[in-house]
Symmetry: C2
Subunit: 410 residues, 2 copies
Amino acid sequence: MTSWIEIPAASPFPANNLPYGIVSKDGGRRHVAVAIGDQVLSLAATANTGLLDDALRDEFGVVDRAIFDAPSLNPFLVKGFDVWHAVRVRLLELVADGSYEPALRSALVARSDVTVHLPVEVADYVDFYSFEEHAGNVGRLFRPNQPPLLPNWHRLPVGYHGRAGTIVVSGTDIVRPSGQRLVDGEPEYGPSLRLDIEAEVGFVVGTPSPQGSSVSTVDFERTVFGAVLVNDWSARDIQAFEYVPLGPFLGKSFATSISPWVVPLEALAAARVPAPAQDPVPADYLLPAGNAYDLSLAVDWNGSTVSRPPFAGMYWTAAQQLAHLTVNGASVRTGDLYASGTVSGPRPGGSGCFLELTWGGAEPVTLDDGSERVFLADGDTITITGTAPGADGTTIGFGEVTGTILPARG
Amino acid sequence: MTSWIEIPAASPFPANNLPYGIVSKDGGRRHVAVAIGDQVLSLAATANTGLLDDALRDEFGVVDRAIFDAPSLNPFLVKGFDVWHAVRVRLLELVADGSYEPALRSALVARSDVTVHLPVEVADYVDFYSFEEHAGNVGRLFRPNQPPLLPNWHRLPVGYHGRAGTIVVSGTDIVRPSGQRLVDGEPEYGPSLRLDIEAEVGFVVGTPSPQGSSVSTVDFERTVFGAVLVNDWSARDIQAFEYVPLGPFLGKSFATSISPWVVPLEALAAARVPAPAQDPVPADYLLPAGNAYDLSLAVDWNGSTVSRPPFAGMYWTAAQQLAHLTVNGASVRTGDLYASGTVSGPRPGGSGCFLELTWGGAEPVTLDDGSERVFLADGDTITITGTAPGADGTTIGFGEVTGTILPARG
């Protein structure tokens, strides 16, 4: 589609993407914007023109323009699918039709002139483990004398709760964590020596569900608003010592980075592909499975692309993850984030973490500057990008999730 | 201490307890109150009299009375230790000195006339596993062919993240969860057949800490505001099938109940006792260990007291749990809740869960009505109470955490 807004050809943000984020300018108030080309369109300013009133009008005729004049997307997300859809349809009109340019020109700001913030006030954070290649590889590395996949893995989407309070927006520096890890077989306190990444895709819940009921797979698109890229930083040595029997804790909880732009599921409609076959047939509550998404990720280590994890092969769909998460009656809340698990295909080119890429540190990778790495060094920068096919041959970009490692503190 | 407010001799809420909660009356606005005897003293109303102004005045001379006219304790908790202390000192004066009765009489309401609500907007929820008896018993039952305690257990307080969004206040009914569990060795979906409790003590964080730094054990009392009783409902069959390798998930996430009254740590000063000896000596970041608390818990099953779990024997102190939680640079936020882990002593009389009490279901307990139980039946009510020694021979009560099991939903 065309737009009166100039959009560079290779932009991750064509006019049919319109991902949502939180921006501020010159230290001013945080508010909602969508990214388009090299600019952002302030939705706080757009709403003030009245041009979104029809999309925002509720069943009592009340228009709440203030939902975009907010420091997180949550007030918009809680409105539910019908409002998400109406606002998106209206925004697609507004950026396509040049007659709106006079009213909206001042609502546009260069993306380089704004600061992006954490887009969502995260309620609960769940991390799944739904890539067979990753789960198998981690099993082989962490539990070498046992079958790599446990009996539950093909029966349900294994997952666990992470720390919501340490989710940070792309660009935030990551302090190397310290903790207890085995050195020559003895636990010793110190900075992590095996600091890793996990390239994932995260799903942001908009519509809450009541406690004591569950969300069906078919309600996925009415419940989940959109998707972000996730880097679930992982200290493998701390994790290895602590994780039996209650799962990962300090090895993960120091920081999780997400991309600043939440891509609406509606912008990913053209990326829907059939989900992989599942054997055995899943329990009824996990059916219908829903679709996979054909996203392509790339992991850059100090500028060298070291892997391209393929997302479409995820064994359990995002709809199944949501249904599983709630089948016991657990509620979801607006702002819940659940992540796919490390996106991995055949190694090394498809590995979404360095544990797999370097086979537990045994096979170093060489970066473009000739230096070798097994895990992250202080000063290293990791940038994960992602794209999906959009309508009419366009490419929907996620924006990047990037972070640089700072030395451990005292 | 004496008070102009009438306090029954056996009340869990003597005049030196003053635990904080959120109440409403006749469907009105939720606000902060303290429990005293059979009544509650509205702090929203007390603040309106001006009698708390000196305690609330900040370094700029500003008095924010509105922190008590709020639907959670969070606005008060975020003010930090100096304000908690000043308000407590002032409240102790106000309830002791009869000259304040005319001003405050109308701020008192019978406890039976108010509804209690979730006292805290819970940020992140962490559940520890710090009772040696419990961890050993669970190990013996879940992993019969391995050493019951893993090498990490005496080195660090093992814990994991739970679901903050399904924490509910005492009195909330609990719908029996469904999920996949093994039946004759095969996974099958259905209502949990081994629904259990976990009697715990939870610590509520008031003062936030920045990401990338850690909280020392000596800062425990400036960081943690107070304590509640916790019932971490657990579906043992769902948990057993799902929990390897990432830990408990759906077996726990359907509901966690907490008592409505947050007892300030300052009210527990007389309950401080030396922490148990720790061997091996913990890592430096876990020292000094801080103190244990001599709390006594009782678990009632349909009115029959089935166990009295002793809290003072907790291997890792609450201060050590906090230090561990943050040693990797994870921040804490106002409203974070971390729980002790199942409080257990020698079985059966000291068991804080039915898995231990009935030895995995092998040894039924007989209730006072002659009926037998191994796990929870629909309609069963569990009530956990707790007390601690207070100053001058008084007894500090926690109020109860109670819940009734409803049948699984279709």
